[in-house]
Amino acid sequence: MVRMKNGGGIVWPKGTRIAVMITFDYDAWLLRQSRIGENTPLIFADWSRGMYGPDEGFERCFRVLKEHQIPATFFVPGKIAEEYPDHIRRLAAAGHEVGYHGYLHESRKGMSREEELECMVKSEQILQELTGSAPVGHRAPFGVLQKSSFQLMRERGYLYSSSMKDRDWAYLHEAGRPIVEIPNEMTNDDYTYFYYSLVTPSHRVAYTNDYVLDIWKEEFDALAAEKDKVYCLKLHPQMIGRASRIKMLGELIDYMRFKGAWIATCKDVAQYVLNHTTVGEGDQL
């Protein structure tokens, strides 16, 4: 027998086999802007592609969640919330969770603690005004966590982080208290398959929906079979929000529900994990 831990050993509620979180990083044009550098001008094509998120994708995402009656988590940069306050209010009214994702999707390595704190204070306030409560979830823009990120999360009362990629189970960074980590991974990120830009740094890939759906179903099935795992789907309204892709997402949701998924917000899953986990497994954070 292999004497190596393979999972967190958690038992999910009501006989479900896996905790599934449908998450959207609602970055619009900031996704590309932060990728090429905050001070580099964004060409029209990249800006306009980002605007597909709020102008087209958002409604489709909102609708597919409503049709399937499932709650989701949206990580929204403060700036996007300022620009689209009505979208954020509607998310909150519909029972979706809104989490922190930078102010301008800042993803520069080595940001100072002061700078990061400023982004958090500003964005939290914007989100609180629109949703009625401060965000409790943190997802690092482009996966770039700063040295001070976890310390700031703790000080500011966050419940969970969803950026690490080291496990397929949700864990506590320290025993007995937040922060809970809800890992995600490139395989289950629509960016991997659907982001396209010819401009440096370019990303030129194309996939059929079936090809991606098949990958996501197989990942889901294999994780669900292990019983103590999470499946955190990471989506962007500007990519998954295309007409045919949103149908594919609907199919995936049906499939997962049929196969015993507990589909919940990151916040609810994190709270459950906090209540049902005793050990801390984080790293010098």
Binding site: V2, F142, M164, E185, T187, T192, Y193, P201
Partner: protein, 270 residues
């Protein structure tokens, strides 16, 4: 090559346990990029346990090429791999590509071999170069340090005996290539140098299955190059497990690199 027990083909399941050292060697080293490092940590925290369980179900022994930094950082993982009957082999200290000379490389090998020997009680006897780099002094070095095999050449579908200046040496080559390297299909990163075009687990193992069928018909071998931090994802381990079942049914001889090398040496009277 005539394989033992009338087997049609020799299959070496071999894993490069690079972990975070793979990320240390990319771009600016990722020392301050926590989530990139965490992708490397997936190796020991999730990929490896899942793969070891799968191998145990199939009762197959594999070879693990482990950078000594990984062995130093995760000695209990290395002990567990050995306890389960698998082989540990050489893969650098920090997964570094050596190009600055025989003495520098000999020093890294000396240090890495010692670290692994102190954990496993055994000297490594197989070499797979990090990044695939081989120098004109490499064979001499392997020979001098008592290695019996190398898994670096890409020019052949079968094992062969190396020679120096036309004279056979007791060193077997167990070739490998990118076609049997999972990162050709399952490693995706945005950070320079970027790796795009992720393939499904199904497509990945289909490539391997097609090649297996044709190589088995010729009585050859496959030496895999698998990275637990990428192929350790649940759907990929499942696909790999299905492929192993298929290869078993189709007459594969599963052995460690070490045991295949010993067999080849013996067949050649070396």
């Amino acid at each position: 090559m005539i394989w033992p027990e009338n087997k049609r083909i020799a299959i070496m399941m071999a894993f490069d346990v690079d972990g975070e050292t793979l990320w240390f060697q990319r771009g600016d080293g990722n020392r301050d990029h926590l989530t990139n490092l965490s992708r490397g940590w997936y190796d020991t925290r999730q990929g490896l346990p899942r793969i070891l369980r799968m191998l145990e179900e199939h009762e197959i022994k594999a070879t693990f090429f482990v950078p000594a930094y990984m062995a130093e950082t995760y000695p209990e993982h290395v002990r567990e791999i050995v306890r389960l009957g698998h082989e540990i082999a050489y893969h650098g200290y920090l997964h570094e590509e050596c190009s600055s000379g025989a003495s520098e490389e000999a020093a890294i090998m000396e240090k890495s071999e010692r670290i692994i020997r102190e954990i496993t009680g055994k000297q490594v006897i197989g070499h797979r170069s990090p990044g695939g780099a081989i120098q004109d002094y490499s064979l001499e070095l392997f020979l001098k340090r008592g290695y019996i095999y190398s898994s670096n050449w890409r020019n052949n579908d079968g094992p062969f005996i190396h020679n120096i200046e036309g004279k056979q040496i007791p060193l077997v080559e167990l070739p490998k290539d990118s076609i049997f390297d999972d990162t050709a299909y399952d490693m995706h990163t945005e950070d320079p140098p970027p790796r795009h075009n992720l393939r499904s687990a199904k497509e990945m193992v289909q490539v391997w299955k097609d090649e297996f069928d044709a190589l088995a018909a010729e009585g050859r071998m496959i030496n895999f190059v698998l990275h637990p931090q990428f192929i350790g994802r649940p759907s990929r381990v499942k696909a790999l497990s299905d492929l192993i079942s298929y290869m078993k049914r189709e007459g594969a001889w599963f052995e460690t690199n070490e045991n295949v090398a010993r067999y080849v040496l013996q067949q050649n009277g070396l």
